[in-house]
């Protein structure tokens, strides 16, 4: 079946403004949007630029805005979309070319939250013990694929360029929840600020667009509670 793709194009070197370009894609059964983009790149327009890697919804490369919603191109079935398929780069990021956006700032924020385990003591000879319940507390917060869908949909990251954003805050929570990590106070200190957990408007858009169905908002709420509790205790 022929489907129309309307793709946002932009080469900052020569285009003053981004523009939309239409392509007719012959969509076979089971075709994903990423495959549709490859169809365009291979048969219609080799200049089209977009990121890709695993094509199986685990690497997070192909985050993009499809019909108004941030999704992974590789796991979005063309047949699930009605009418013209409109593909744009993720919002809130500078466009490098077409669907490829500058993620340096995103990774910078990831770095800022000290995204690694900070344990208490020298490690034992074997593994540190962690009960299934303790492991369960980390839950799915460790499953984030850092695709930046959430960052690109959050209303706050759009207006406050210093805001750490849902992905980095989720990462903080992942380590706060880890029984092996002892840097809780330090972690909370990093996110306790006007550009941290207090900035979230709880609109839940991050959760809404997460391909792994994670909830950065819940993590942010948990961290707020933790902080309020701590302040209460400190005050006593």
């Amino acid at each position: 079946m022929e489907r129309t793709f309307r793709v946002m194009r932009c080469d900052p070197e020569k285009d003053k403004k981004p523009y939309l370009q239409e392509y007719q894609v012959s969509a076979r059964d089971g075709m994903t949007v990423l495959e549709g983009l490859f169809y365009i790149q291979r048969r219609l327009d080799p200049s089209l630029a977009f990121r890709f890697s695993c094509r199986g919804s685990v690497c997070g490369s192909c985050a993009m805005n499809i019909n108004g919603r941030n999704r992974l191109g590789c796991e979005t079935q063309v047949s699930s979309l009605k009418g013209v398929i409109k593909v744009r780069p993720l919002g809130h990021f500078k466009v490098l070319r077409d669907l490829v956006v500058e993620l340096d700032g995103f990774w910078e924020k990831y770095r800022r939250v000290r995204p690694y385990l900070i344990p208490s003591s020298l490690p034992p000879e074997k593994e540190r013990l962690q009960s299934p319940e303790e492991r369960g507390r980390i839950g799915d917060t460790a499953d984030c694929i850092l695709c930046a869908n959430c960052h690109g949909s959050c209303t706050v990251t759009g207006t406050d360029s210093e805001y750490l954003g849902p992905a980095a805050l989720l990462k903080t929570d992942r380590f706060l929840r880890d029984s092996r990590d002892v840097a809780g106070d330090e972690r909370i200190r990093i996110v306790d600020g006007v550009h941290g957990i207090w900035r979230c408007h709880t609109i839940l858009s991050c959760q809404d667009v997460c391909p792994k169905e994670l909830s950065p908002t819940s993590s942010i709420m948990d961290m707020r509670k933790r902080l309020v509790r701590k302040r209460g205790n400190d005050g006593r």
Binding site: A49, G56, Y116, L117, K126, E127, R135, I145
Partner: protein
């Protein structure tokens, strides 16, 4: 010119582990990767990583030596035994280290790393983090690299090595963002560029897993080893060939034919271990079953998880469930998953010794792109992220001690010469008035590999395959690009990847044609039995301007005498 003491190409598990080792030695190290490291294929590994740490009550008497034996038997005795033993002995310490760095492994009741059974293993020794083990390990090791502030050049495609008189001086990479070729000078280079699965169309591999990382050293004079050994995974989603982990069978899933029978019982070599027989055996019997008419339309069978129950599926195989629902429209709690075998792993690769060294001084390789060999003719599931971890660390250490003891001076001039050559080449490609288009030639390679170099092979189809690849190589001389832009020019990107991949495809077919026996993953219908007299040997392919040359090298056999491989 950018200079680092050590440069690692590849940000997967092997590359990042090597970087951390070099960092430990106080060596200034950089990683170059054509995608952000967290987008590397390691992230897709599902089932787990094997080490004999005996955490499962059923594995109390497991040992590195038993692990080594299983690996060697699984390899159909083609693995180098000293190297295997080294891997199995070093593995536990390195897996514990990953745990110490924060890897969120699944846990058993005692709070230890959980272990599950995998095919071809005598004990349940596969450590896992649900069915997202690669994601857990890659994130952990990347986090560690962030901690050590290791320099990372993301979205740089390495296109060639700069060699001077058998010594590596650095390399050239295309910065995808600027579209400029960038020269890198360094004292040692480690390639950790992953597998070449995308030579095939039907593959579980990430789309970035082309042959380029294998091709660059090959074309620079480093031989390739055992390239004919390509693993086909029994269970890939019908239609997309996305992997359904062996963990599913490890947890007890059944393979069924169209009559709903566990057909593996009908074949002698899989009767005993059934679904937990090694991959090569299961994949072949699936094809045989389909040839007999036991398959569903279009060529697939069923993987049935339903009897495992909702709880087990959601706890241990949540990723499989998610992929089945997203990509096959099927909830494995309710329906069986349609599966077919597909290309999965490249056992062969850049010829290295057990230290990660190659014939070029200062040039090392580790992980799936390398062939040490620890997998021989067939890799056991769960052994390759182990290989990436162990030999990443070993190559890192090897490079570090090479750098410390190095006498010869750096030759930046050599790197600049290479840069000029590359610039010339790209200029010519951009200006080419030829008629050949990049995607057509890629389709060509994929078709030949799928059709002529698959699970069952024979003289005639391999010869035909070789002719076809050579024809494609000829045609690639007339390659032309229609897009001339600089930034993120993916036509250029795929074009550069193509040329090397053609050479690697040729090496695979040549190895397969000359190996007139059946061993592990390599099955010749015209030579269906193993022939130790002639072929208990590694094949070594060398690049030449005309045709590649092939020689054989003895296997290192120090512990276990080759026996018939029965399960």
């Amino acid at each position: 010119m950018i200079y680092h003491q050590a440069i690692i190409v590849g940000g997967g598990l092997a590359g990042l582990r090597a970087a951390i080792e070099l960092n430990r030695w106080g060596i200034d190290t950089a990683i170059i990767s054509k995608v952000h490291p967290l987008r590397s294929h390691t992230v897709a590994a599902q089932g787990g990583i094997n080490v004999a740490i005996g955490n499962n009550p059923l594995a109390a008497s497991d040992s590195p030596e038993t692990h080594a034996f299983d690996t060697i038997k699984g390899s159909d005795y083609l693995a180098d035994q000293g190297a295997v033993l080294k891997m199995c002995r070093m593995g536990p310490g390195l897996v514990y280290e990953m745990e110490h760095w924060g890897c969120p492994f699944s846990r058993n009741d005692e709070g230890r790393i959980a272990q599950r059974p995998f095919g071809g293993a005598d004990f349940p020794r596969t450590c896992y983090a649900a069915d997202r083990t690669g994601h857990a390990l890659l994130n952990t090791i990347f986090e560690r690299a962030v901690y050590h502030e290791i320099a990372i050049y993301s979205e740089y495609l390495v296109t060639s090595l700069a060699l001077d008189d058998g010594v590596c001086q650095g390399l050239i990479a295309l910065d995808l963002k600027s579209g400029m070729l960038v020269p890198f000078s360094s004292d040692a280079v480690i390639f950790a560029t992953g597998g070449a699965g995308r030579l095939y169309g039907r593959s579980t591999n990430a789309l970035i897993n082309t042959g380029i990382g294998t091709a660059i050293p090959y074309r620079a004079g480093v031989p390739l080893k055992d390239m004919e050994f390509i693993q086909f995974h029994p269970t890939t989603l019908f239609g997309t060939n996305i992997l359904v982990s062996e963990g599913a069978r490890g947890e007890g899933a059944y393979l069924l034919n169209k009559s709903g029978e566990r057909f593996l019982a009908d074949y002698e070599d899989s009767r005993e271990k059934m679904e937990l027989s090694p991959r090569d055996i299961v994949a072949r019997n699936m094809v045989r079953e389909m040839e007999k008419g036991g398959g569903f339309e279009g060529g697939h069978l069923h993987l049935d998880l339903r009897h495992l129950g909702k709880q087990k599926i959601e706890e241990r195989l949540p990723g499989i469930r998610e992929l089945s629902m997203k990509f096959a429209g099927i909830d494995p709690e309710m329906e069986p998953i349609p599966v077919q075998p597909g290309q999965h792993y490249t056992m062969g690769g850049i010829d290295t010794d057990a230290e990660g060294k190659t014939v070029v001084k200062g040039f090392f390789a580790a992980g799936e792109c390398a062939c040490v060999s620890v997998h021989g003719a067939n890799r056991l599931g769960g052994n390759s992220i182990l290989e990436a971890l162990v030999f990443g660390a070993i190559a890192g250490e090897g490079a570090a001690s090479y750098i410390e003891g190095k006498e010869k001076m750096r030759e930046e001039g050599m790197v600049l010469d290479s840069l000029k050559r590359e610039e010339e080449e790209i200029k010519n490609l951009m200006a080419s008035a030829g008629k050949e288009r990049v995607p057509d030639l890629w389709e060509g390679i994929n078709r030949v590999m799928d059709d002529n170099v698959g699970i069952f092979r024979e003289e005639r189809s391999l010869k035909e395959g070789l002719d076809k690849v050579r024809e494609l190589k000829e045609r690639s001389k007339a390659l032309a690009l229609s897009y001339k832009g600089k930034s993120f020019n993916y036509e250029l990107y795929w074009g550069l990847e193509l040329q090397g991949s053609l050479d690697v495809a040729e090496a695979v077919i040549l190895g397969a044609l000359e190996r007139r026996e059946s061993r592990g993953s390599h099955f010749r219908r015209d030579y269906p039995v193993r022939n130790d007299g002639s072929f208990l040997k590694h094949s070594i392919v060398k690049y030449t301007e005309e045709e590649p040359s092939l020689i054989y090298r003895d296997v290192d056999i120090i512990l276990f005498e080759p026996k018939e491989r029965r399960y």
